[in-house]
């Protein structure tokens, strides 16, 4: 069974080895400073923690900032760590690339760049991957095609949940406005 590493312990070790990465801990992950991400990861991969397998790399739009989520795995010791870093600037976010540490980050960073618009500093071949070069905007951002006050991401709630008809009832005749 894969063990989820004790975040506080890892954060303490990181603080000892790479103090400038300012490791913090939330419920799920260790959060490090974006500027020293590469050093932190190098330490995590090289130390006894042996987190040498980048299982997954993705990003989450938190509206005010971006969260980069790395799932690091040690195969030999069979434990998993969720590492996060924050890209503060929501307009032109930029974090260092992990391609130097993990070849596997190559395509995943390109994917994140393509869909989220996060620049990875030091990525050797940062191009759009799924979308074409002239595509306007980054679709996985929450404000993509968003219009102030009218549309927002996600559903406001389930239909019929609070008694009122948010969505038309199946089978009911739609009311066509008379001109």
């Amino acid at each position: 069974m894969t063990v989820l590493l004790d975040l506080q312990v890892v954060a303490d070790q990181l603080r000892g080895a790479v103090p400038e990465s300012v490791p913090r801990v939330d419920t799920w992950a260790v959060i490090v400073d974006a500027g020293h991400l590469v050093e932190a990861v190098r330490f995590l991969a090289g130390s006894a923690l042996d987190l040498s397998f980048l299982a997954s790399l993705t990003a989450v739009d938190r509206e005010s900032h971006f969260e980069l989520v790395y799932h690091l795995q040690s195969l030999d010791r069979n434990h998993l760590l969720t590492l996060k870093t924050i890209a503060e600037d929501h307009e032109t976010p930029c974090v260092p690339s992990l391609t130097g540490e993990y070849r596997g980050a190559h395509l995943q960073e390109r994917e994140v760049f393509d869909l989220m618009g996060i620049r990875f500093e030091g990525h050797p071949d940062l191009r759009r991957m799924f979308l074409w070069d002239g595509f306007p905007g980054y679709p996985l951002r929450k404000d993509f095609l968003g219009m102030p006050g009218t549309l927002s991401a996600g559903l406001p709630g389930f239909p019929h949940e609070s008694g009122e008809n948010r969505w038309p009832v199946p089978g009911s005749t739609p009311v066509i406005p008379q001109s």
């Binding site: 042996d50 040498s52 397998f53 040690s74 195969l75 030999d76 010791r77 069979n78």
Partner: protein, 423 residues
């Protein structure tokens, strides 16, 4: 059998009687050239009339046999047992739009589908369907066969070049490289046959087999194998279909051809396969002759049966084997087929000398030679397999079982060093 049936023009066993009657009739009043022309025309019409329907049946046969090899039914919707499927295919192909790429060389692009047809039809002229059923019994028939069937490459190369498509060009280059190589192997194979039989006339080779009461595949197994493989390569059939390797270069030289132009390429491929099967049957399986049976059964039916047999082998190969890479094909040709071909040319020369100059008793000498040749064949192929590392002694080891050793690099190293990891 009544005497009145024998050698009459309506004798079914020898259809050349009709042609002879007409030619003689023309010669009785007309000039000599007219008689020759009429004779040739009858042969040509006869062959064309045979090939067309045969191709239709062949398409159906090939699809059906392949389907049976692949545990499926094959065409069974159009006509009884799907027999009309080729007609439906042809109608579809004729009705389809024939695209010409904008960047293609227009004039050259039109040529190849026609050009490939010419050699495919010409070689039929020297094929003996019976003792007299041959359009032209050339005394250099073997040479004619090689020369004419070799020109196919030219048309294919034109097709690849004119399409202005990289896949097509790759296909064309591969065809050139491969055909030239395998042509040599094939020439050597036929040279062996010619050495032994002492004639270049194709009918002569059949007659030799009849006279010696022996089919050549028994005497020259390696040569027959070389011819079969050379023919496979020349025909671009699996396992040597690198010229139109579907999984690599889409369709090779005829990638850009659509509609009936593609249909022509396809038909020629089948026609060539048929004619090569027929020549294989003629050279190595005794052609129209079958130990006296040809006196009772029409000789052309005997040839047809033998041809079908070889054709089935071609289909079988196609249905079973994957494709070799071009360098592996070249290696196979230049390191096995060509040296072995040379060896057998020498062997055939020696055997011919023994038979002819020293007048060895054929009833003893021929079986002995057959055994020796078979032994040499086995030795040559065995040696090749050993040198290239192919064969049963290189049985590949299957995967190891992790057996609870789970992990990353460290576990991988441990597993690799584990003594009996194969179980």
């Amino acid at each position: 059998m009544s005497a009145w049936l024998l050698a009459a023009w309506y004798d079914l066993r020898d259809l050349s009687g009709i042609s002879r009657e007409i030619t003689e009739w023309v010669a009785s009043w007309g000039p000599e050239w007219l008689a020759s022309a009429v004779s040739g025309a009858i042969g040509a019409i006869g062959i064309l009339a045979v090939i067309g329907p045969t191709l239709m049946i062949l398409i159906w046969t090939e699809r059906k046999v392949i389907a049976r090899l692949q545990v499926r039914y094959g065409p069974n919707r159009v006509g009884p047992r799907g027999l009309l499927q080729p007609v439906a295919d042809a109608v579809k192909l004729i009705l389809k739009e024939e695209l010409v790429p904008r960047a293609a060389d227009k004039w050259l692009f039109f040529l190849p589908p026609v050009l490939v047809f010419i050699p495919a039809l010409l070689v039929w002229g020297v094929l003996p369907f019976g003792p007299h059923m041959q359009v032209a019994d050339l005394n250099v028939g073997v040479l004619f066969l090689l020369a004419v069937s070799g020109t196919n490459v030219l048309a294919v190369f034109i097709a690849g070049w004119a399409s202005n498509n990289k896949y097509a060009l790759f296909g064309a280059m591969r065809v050139i490289a491969m055909t030239i190589s395998y042509e040599i192997a094939m020439v050597l194979a036929l040279l062996t046959v010619v050495f032994l039989t002492g004639t270049m006339s194709i009918n002569g080779i059949v007659l030799w087999q009849q006279q010696e009461d022996l089919i050549l595949i028994v005497l020259l197994p390696m040569t027959a194998l070389t011819f079969l493989l050379g023919a496979t390569a020349e025909l671009n059939r699996t396992p040597m279909d690198i010229a139109e390797a579907e999984s690599e270069i889409v369709a090779g030289y005829h990638t850009e051809y659509s509609g009936m132009r593609f249909g022509l390429f396809y038909a020629v491929e089948l026609a060539n396969t048929l004619v090569m099967s027929a020549f294989m049957a003629t050279f190595f399986l005794g052609g129209w002759w079958l130990w006296g049976l040809d006196a009772w059964v029409p000789s052309w039916i005997i040839l047809l049966v033998k041809t079908s047999l070889v054709y089935f082998v071609f289909i079988w190969l196609r249905g079973t084997l994957p494709r070799l890479r071009i360098d592996q094909l070249m290696t196979f040709c230049w390191k096995l087929l060509v040296p072995a071909g040379l060896l057998f040319v020498a062997i055939a020369a020696v055997e011919r000398t023994l038979l002819l100059e020293y007048a060895w008793d054929r009833t003893i000498a021929l079986p002995v030679m057959a055994v020796i040749n078979a032994a040499v064949t086995v030795a040559v192929i065995g040696a090749y397999a050993r040198v290239t590392g192919a064969g049963a002694h290189r049985a590949p080891a299957g995967p190891r079982m992790a057996r609870g050793r789970l992990g990353g690099l460290r576990a991988a190293r441990q597993l690799a060093q584990a003594p009996s990891g194969s179980d």
